[in-house]
């Protein structure tokens, strides 16, 4: 059971959190300008890296805030846990 540090509440057991998948996937500004393939890329294609992964978690049983975690998908070590910043600039 992972130990996840909520930027708002501190370190808590994984059971208090829910996973939200890859971070930084920005919803296209104008979906209808995209081809089917481009839309499919947004919908379904994922980095799914073996190694460092930036991902979203929500402190579902706590403050219910989403935040961003950098975690190694092999060692499961968490290297950072940050709040989401405002604006699209934060989105990789």
């Amino acid at each position: 059971m992972l130990l996840i540090s909520c930027p708002y509440c501190g370190a808590r057991a994984e059971t208090e959190f829910s996973y939200g998948g890859e971070a930084g996937i920005e919803r296209p500004k104008d979906p209808h300008a995209l081809s089917d393939a481009e839309w499919a890329d947004y919908l379904f294609m994922r980095k799914n890296p073996r190694g460092l992964h930036t991902e979203l978690w929500i402190h579902a049983q706590g403050c219910r805030r989403w935040f961003k975690v950098e975690r190694d998908t092999v060692s499961y070590k968490i290297t950072s846990s940050r709040e989401l910043s405002l604006g699209a600039s934060e989105k990789e």
Binding site: E14, S18, P49, R50, T73
Partner: protein, 416 residues
């Protein structure tokens, strides 16, 4: 290949078992093959076998970074069934089930396929509607399926708790009598031995580090044992599909998650069927050795660590005890994890790619073992003919663009 039989067993016993020969060779890689299969799990070995057997393509290498059958093939809970909801899926799995039914004889290797019946339990009215729908569809597709009552389940599996006075009472189930379990390691070894006998090179401790391409066409692979050229490359590496996809510049609709399983200590026979439940989320059978073999759910996060979180094991035990309250006193001997590649529609990808001569077989999620022969058979066809067989045509990568997904979540939400 020396034939295995009771006669050969006795004859070799007389010579103190000294005359048994290798089940498969361990050759050094050649410089070039017609087809290189990346991944020496059950699916990869089956692909190589059917390439050789069905399509006469024998200049084939199977490259395995560790030891064959060491990934999900050797880590799953060995359930085999074909009672899927959608026609596309059920016909694919049924092809596989038909191959299972003669596999020991075909491979001359006893894979211990045991057709003891698979029950998918229903715990509420919607479950029962879904069961009715799936069974009705299965029957029209020529797949054996029945809707059974709680009482019928109790008669077949006396220890199961069918009391109506429990949190999620059992209202009924679907039953596929031809479903069952098999010996997972034997499937890898049996395919390896049979493929080797047809000339396939099985090369272990050979990790693919790059996929070579020239003008949109695959030319071979880089490996820890040097460059291996190939006219065609088939990638079938389960949890690591995205990693290999990345090497060829492909983006895949896949996430790799930990899936855990566990066994109890071996006991005398107490359970002669496979029991699966979506609602309470657990599934269980008893191996020939006597261990209760239990599958847990997937962990929510991406994980390549071949291990998951402990609470997933706890929840699984809760579910098993809800179904079998007496198993509370049975002990877990060992737990482990694998890496499953999950597709958005819980169905696999068996497909050509945007790179000529490069084929991917992945996305089996939690249920790939049952598909081993069928997956290999259709993938071999796809590689040999450079076009999918009609059975796997719906499982093309392009379905994510068109939207023609085959949503098996209803039938496959629970790991299996």
């Amino acid at each position: 290949m020396k034939k295995y039989s009771v006669v050969s067993l006795l004859r070799n016993a007389l010579s103190y078992n000294r005359n048994w020969t290798e089940a498969w060779r361990s050759p050094a890689p050649q410089r070039e093959y017609d087809v290189v299969i990346v991944g020496g799990g059950g699916h990869g070995l089956a692909t190589a076998y059917y390439l050789a057997k069905e399509h006469g393509i024998r200049n084939v290498a199977v490259l395995e970074k560790g030891w064959i059958g060491g990934g999900n093939t050797g880590r799953n809970t060995t359930i085999v069934r074909s009672n899927y909801l959608w026609t596309e899926a059920s016909l694919l799995y049924e092809k596989s089930l038909k191959l299972w039914e003669g596999l020991s004889q075909d491979l001359n290797y006893n894979v211990m396929f045991s057709q003891r019946g698979v029950y998918n339990l229903g715990h509420n009215l919607q479950d029962m509607r879904d069961i009715e729908r799936r069974v009705a569809a299965n029957r029209l597709n020529g797949i054996d399926a029945e809707v059974v009552t709680a009482e019928q389940i109790k008669n077949a599996v006396p220890l199961i708790n069918t009391s109506s006075n429990v949190r999620y009472p059992i209202l009924g189930a679907s039953l596929q009598r031809r479903g069952g379990v098999a010996r997972h390691d034997a499937v890898a070894w049996g395919f390896a031995r049979a493929a080797d006998a047809l000339g396939v090179d099985i090369i272990q401790q050979c990790e693919v580090t790059g996929i070579n391409r020239d003008r949109g066409r695959v030319t071979g692979v880089e490996t820890t044992r040097g460059t291996i050229n190939a006219k065609k490359v088939g990638v079938v590496v389960a949890g690591n599909a995205s990693v290999l996809g990345d090497m060829a510049g492909l983006r895949l609709p896949i996430e790799s998650h930990p899936l855990q399983a566990l066994v109890s200590e071996p006991m005398k026979p107490v359970l002669d069927a496979v029991i699966m439940s979506n609602a309470v989320h657990g599934y269980i059978s008893q191996s020939d050795k006597g261990e209760l073999v239990i599958g847990a759910g997937i962990d929510a996060y991406i994980g390549y660590g071949q291990r998951g979180s402990f609470q997933t094991i706890e929840h699984t035990m809760e579910a098993i005890i809800a179904l079998f309250p007496m198993f509370s006193r049975v002990r877990m001997l060992r737990q482990w994890g694998g890496i499953v590649d999950i597709c958005p529609d819980a169905c696999p990808i068996i497909s050509k790619t945007s790179v000529d001569g490069l084929y991917f077989n992945c996305g089996w999620g939690t249920g790939g073992f049952k598909a081993t022969p069928g997956s290999g058979w259709t993938f071999a066809h796809t590689i040999a003919q450079n076009q999918p067989h009609e059975l796997n045509a719906p499982f093309d990568l392009r379905r994510f663009e068109t939207g023609a997904l085959i949503d098996e979540h209803g039938a496959a939400a629970v790991a299996h």
